[in-house]
Amino acid sequence: MTRQTRTTLTRRGFGTLIAASAATLATPGLLRANTNGRLLVVGGGFGGASAARFARINYPDVSVTLVEPQTSFVTCPYGNLILGGRKQLSDITHSYDGLRARGVQVIHDRAQEIDAEGHRVTLAGGDVLDYDKLILSPGIALRWNAIEGYDEAASEVFPHAWWGGDGSQITTLRAQLEALPEGGVVGMAIPDNPFRCPPGPYERISMIAHHLKQANPTAKILAFDSKDGFAKQGLFQDAWEELYGDMIEWIPASQDGRIMRVDTENKLFVSEFGEEHHVDLGNVIPPQYAAGIARDAGLANDSGWVPVNPRSFEAEAARDIHVIGDANVGAPMPKSGYIANSTAKTAVTAALAEISGRPAWDDPVYFNTCYSHAGEDYGISVAAIFRPTDDGFEATPDSGGVSPSGPLSEMSRNRRLEARYADAWYASITDDMFS
C-alpha cells in the first residue's frame, strides 16, 4: 500500500481517492469504493478478516479498510499441531493478498486511539482514518503479572503461545519441546474462565503428549488448572488414557492446581498453597482480557471484556463501534474463531443497514464448532447454535454438544472421520477469511 493511498483515507484526502480511482482501474474494488460509506475494520484475525471479506462481497458499494499490524496472519487454530510435529508454521500462515484482491484496503499498522465521538481512529504511524462504522476485532491481551513473575520478558522463557503474532511463540515452544531432556517435566498453567478457546489447552496437552510419546516417552506433562472442569473433559481424558497412559497428570484447582507465581530463573511454578514445582519446560497461559485498544477506548466493563448488543454487536458504550470476536462479553458463546467468523457477518449487516438501506438480519443465529485433535487420526468436536436474547446469548436447547464417548475400539471410525473433517474445517474457515 502506497503512502498516497493511505492518506486518501483521511478526511483531508477524501477527494483524492475519487480522483485517483480513474487511474486505478486495475483494482476494480477501489473504483466503487467510497461511493456509499466507509467501513473500518481494526484487527485482521478471525473476526476482522471475516468481516472485511464479507462486507466486500455483499456490500460492494461500501469502502472497506482493514488495519492490522502483522503483514501475514498466523492462526492459533492448528498451532497445537505444530507442537505435535504435524504442521509447519507456513501451513498456518495466511496472506492478506486475497483481501486486497477483493478491494479491501489493508493497512499494516496498529490502531492507537479511537475517537468514538469524532468517528476517527489514529494509527501508531500517525495516519488518521475517518469511518462511518467501525468493526473492532482486536482479540485478547494477556494480563501480565496476574500470575506473579509472568510478564512479557518471562514469556520468552515460558512461552504462552496463546496468540498467533509473528509465529515466534509457537515455534519457540516447539523448539523447547524438542530440546526437553530425557524424562523431563513439561508444566502447563491453565487459566480460569473466560479465556480464548476453552478446549485449546487440552488439545495442546494432547499434541505435546503425541510428540513426546515418540520422541521422549518417559517425559511427564503436569497440567495445572485454575478450574475444576473443562471443555470436552470426558473425551479428552479418555483419549489421554487410551493414547498416552500415565504421561499426563491434570491437576484441578481443588487439588491446588492454581498457579500463582512463576520463577523463570529457577524454572518453578508455585501453587496457591505455596507448593513449588520444578519444570524443565513451562507453558503459561495467563488470564486474559480484551485487547488494549478496546479497553483504552473505554468500551470494556470491569471484567475487562466489552459488553455488546447481542443482535448488532454494537458496543454498549459507543455508537457505531461493533465489537466482535474474543474481545466481547459473549458467554455462553465460547471465545472461538468460528464464533468470531459467524458473528462478524451479523455485525456487518447491522453496521451497514442504514448505509446500504438493507435491513440487518433480524433473527440472527450464531454458530460454533471447535474440533480438537487428541492424537493421530483422533478428532473430537463440540458444536453449538446460539441465538440472541434481550440481554445476551443462549444456546439453542436440545442441540449441539460434544462427540459421542465410548471405548476407542468402538469409536475409532468416528474419531478418524472427525480428524479429517477438522482439516476440512480449517481449510474452509481460513478460505472464508482470506480467499
Binding site: 455483499n58 458499494d61 459467524s342 449487516t349 435491513p359 440472527p364 464448532t369 468436536s381 447454535i385 479429517r420
Partner: protein, 98 residues
C-alpha cells in the same frame, strides 16, 4: 465458483436504491455452513458439496440427521439447532445453487 450472494454483483450498482425488504434468511443462515462445506457450499476436502442438493432430499436428510436416523459425526448435533422454517430456507438456498 462463488455463486453465494446476498446480492448479485450485477445488481451492485442498483444497490443504493435497494428497497427496505427483509434480507432472505437462507443465505445468512447458510453463511455458517461455509465454515465446513466451503464457499457457497462447494465442498472442501472430506466435507461434501451441497450445491444443487435436491430440495426434498435435503429436507429428508436433515430430518434424519436431527432424529439420529442417519450416520453422522456432527450433522445430527447441528441439525437439531434449526427451526423448520430455517431448514426450508436452507433447502431453498442450496438447491438453487449450481
Amino acid at each position: 465458483m462463488r455463486t453465494r450472494l446476498l446480492l448479485p454483483t450485477t445488481l451492485a450498482l442498483a444497490m443504493a436504491a435497494w428497497p427496505a425488504v427483509a434480507q432472505p434468511d437462507g443465505p445468512m443462515l447458510a453463511e455458517a455452513c461455509a465454515g465446513c462445506h466451503g464457499q457457497a457450499g462447494a465442498g472442501q476436502g472430506a466435507i461434501s458439496d451441497l450445491r444443487g442438493y435436491d430440495r426434498d432430499a435435503f429436507l429428508l436428510v436433515w430430518a434424519e440427521f436431527a432424529a439420529d436416523e442417519r450416520p453422522a459425526t456432527i450433522m445430527n448435533r447441528i441439525a437439531r439447532g434449526y427451526t423448520e422454517a430455517d431448514v426450508e430456507a436452507l433447502a431453498d438456498f442450496f438447491s438453487s445453487l449450481e
